[in-house]
């Protein structure tokens, strides 16, 4: 037992080290402009002015936009990717390996190079300068397919076999039995997709012009400016604000990462 206590201390210590840079972010958001990059915290000089300045920009609209886009992408992606991953893991069909390989290869393309043709394609579908343009191209990503396939490869077969015996079709089995039990994989992927879309910068930057379509990273970059002077205290306050929804998601969602399927499912 003492061993476990030592382990706990060690791990929590490492965890605190990991969070230290975020602590700096947190504290800096409340500092006055001149103090931002100093290590000391002058408690008499803490201020909420940075946040006031941030709220005068359209950051709240951007947060809503990002939330909307990331949520829709995540939910649709989870659905599509779990289906594809399941088919690639469990079902037999001609061309299975080729399709898998082809899908994985789509991960290997650097975004900067397909950026312009992707813009053209999106424009041709009439999705430029709209929410659709932010959502639809981002749904299709082989990472989720790969992970789901990996997960379903090791999914206990007994459950599906039992379902077939009851007369359920393949699709029925998937949607009624397998998918609900896929929580252990859905949780990390929810975090992954949501965060990836939340932090997406280049694509939203080039596909949209209108300020009311701005997402969080674009709005943040605008606050940074990159001009002759940057008010870092305001930028960091904005950054903190923008990170809160993702933090909240993390707290809410990963609580559910408890037991594996093999334990729960068979029961």
């Amino acid at each position: 037992m003492r061993q476990r206590w030592l382990l706990t201390v060690f791990v929590i210590f490492c965890g605190i080290l990991m969070v230290l840079p975020i602590y700096f972010l947190f504290v800096s958001a409340f500092k006055e402009p001149n103090d931002v990059f100093r290590l000391s915290i002058n408690f008499s000089h803490l201020t909420l002015d940075n946040f006031k300045a941030v709220l005068e920009t359209n950051i709240l609209r951007a947060i809503w936009n990002s939330f909307f886009v990331s949520s829709v992408v995540t939910i649709v992606a989870l659905l599509f990717h779990s289906m594809s991953g399941y088919a690639l893991a469990r079902l037999n069909f001609p061309g299975k390996n080729f399709i898998f390989g082809w899908m994985i290869s789509t991960l290997m393309v650097p975004f900067t190079v397909i950026m312009i043709p992707l813009y053209m394609v999106t424009k041709n579908f009439g999705m430029a300068n709209s929410y659709l343009g932010l959502i639809v191209p981002m749904i299709f990503n082989a990472y989720g397919i790969f992970l789901f396939r990996q997960f379903y490869n090791e999914f206990p077969k007994e459950l599906e076999e039992a379902a077939y015996m009851e007369g359920l079709s393949i699709a029925g089995t998937f949607f009624r039995i397998v998918l609900p039990l896929s929580k252990p994989m859905i949780i990390p992927l929810t975090i992954g997709f949501f965060t990836a879309n939340w932090n997406n910068y280049l694509w939203p930057l080039i596909i949209n012009q209108k300020e009311d379509l701005w997402v969080v990273q674009v709005a943040l970059a605008n606050i940074v400016g990159g001009g002759y002077e940057t008010s870092w205290s305001i930028v960091l306050a904005a950054a903190l604000l923008c990170a809160l929804p993702t933090f909240a998601l993390f707290f809410l969602v990963q609580r559910h990462l408890v037991e594996g399927v093999k334990m729960t499912g068979i029961k």
Binding site: R4, L7, T8, F10, V11, I12, C14, G15, M18, V19, P21, I22, F24, L25, F37, F80, M83, S84, A87, L91, N92, F93, I99, M103, T106, L107, M108, V109, P110, T112, V113, I114, P117, T122, V136, Y143, I145, F146, Q150, N153, E154, S169, A171, P184, P188, I191, T195, Y201, Q217, L220, V224, W232, A239, C242, Q254, R255, L257, V258, G260, M263
Partner: protein
């Protein structure tokens, strides 16, 4: 009997195609088509603003002589060789450790490690530039406290790449650890019970039970992390812009430079095609190497 089996098989195949269809269509339209277009562009000289000029394979010939390109490939390889094993090892290490903790502490630890993942790339780069400041950054202050010397970190051609690797690991550790954790939890505890009866605990349990059963996940993390390490862009762009003196200029950065600073779209596309081939061969090798019997 035969007909029924065939019918079932066909039904299975149809369902499978139906399941795969949305992604197949989506990936084709939004990734494959642009990829093909990029290859098409690579056979031309194009500055995005005027019409394209067909040059056949000239861009590829030019690439062979481009010293800066090969230097960027070298930088990318160094980055990958250091980053991937480190991230893999650390994620697995902490996943195993955290799994041992009481659920309350496990939850806390997981959250702490995961938080860096939520920070957007520009901000994480900014925070770390502050920590790494060569004159009075936090890390140097700590070093000096313990009697060491100030380091240049991002300002040094030797240390810049490693400094950036640390940041990328910091961002991704918690997330990959969570994936390992999810897989570790799939391992039935009876296995460990049985092993304990036989006297195998701790390291032995890990080596003979945990690690082998994590095979699939390990391969996934390895392949995906490798692919990802070839694409790290945002943080490097903010922290060093590829410097100092091109010490951190990885291939994607060089491609970006050619594409958008020089407006050499054709050449940049050719470079991207080659990079794609490199990643593809590497991933294929990894998959073949690690998926032996399964």
């Amino acid at each position: 009997m035969f007909k029924k089996k065939n019918r079932l098989k066909r039904k299975e195949a149809l369902t499978a195609y139906g399941f795969v269809l949305p992604n197949f269509i989506g990936l084709t339209i939004f990734v494959f088509v642009p990829m093909v277009y990029a290859f098409y562009v690579s056979l031309h000289q194009w500055n995005a603003l005027s019409p394209k000029v067909f040059v056949g394979f000239d861009n590829y010939v030019q690439m062979a002589k481009d010293k800066e390109w090969w230097h960027s490939v070298y930088n990318t390889f160094i980055f990958t060789i250091i980053y991937v094993p480190l991230l893999f090892g650390l994620s697995l290490f902490f996943a195993v450790l955290i799994h041992q903790l009481k659920s309350r502490y496990e939850s806390l630890a997981r959250t702490l490690f995961l938080l860096p993942f939520a920070i957007t790339s520009v901000i994480s780069a900014t925070i770390w530039m502050f920590l790494y400041d060569p004159r009075n950054g936090f890390i140097n202050q700590v070093l000096k406290f313990f009697g060491g010397h100030s380091q240049q970190f991002l300002g040094s051609t030797n240390q810049a790449l490693i400094s950036i690797i640390v940041v990328i690991i910091w961002i991704n550790l918690g997330y990959n650890m969570m994936i390992f954790l999810a897989s570790i939890k799939e391992i039935p505890t009876d296995y460990y019970e049985a092993a304990r009866i036989d006297g195998a605990t701790g390291w032995k349990a890990f080596r003979f039970i945990t690690f082998p059963l994590l095979r699939g996940t390990s391969i996934f993390i390895l392949v995906v992390t490798t692919i990802g390490s070839f694409q790290v862009f945002d943080q490097i762009m903010v922290m060093t812009k590829g410097g100092p003196a091109n010490a951190t200029e990885v291939s994607v950065l060089y491609i970006y430079k050619q594409a958008f600073e020089f407006l050499n779209m054709g050449y940049a596309s050719a470079l991207a095609v080659v990079l794609f081939i490199i990643i593809f061969v590497l991933s294929l090798t990894q998959l073949k190497l690690y998926t032996r019997k399964d």
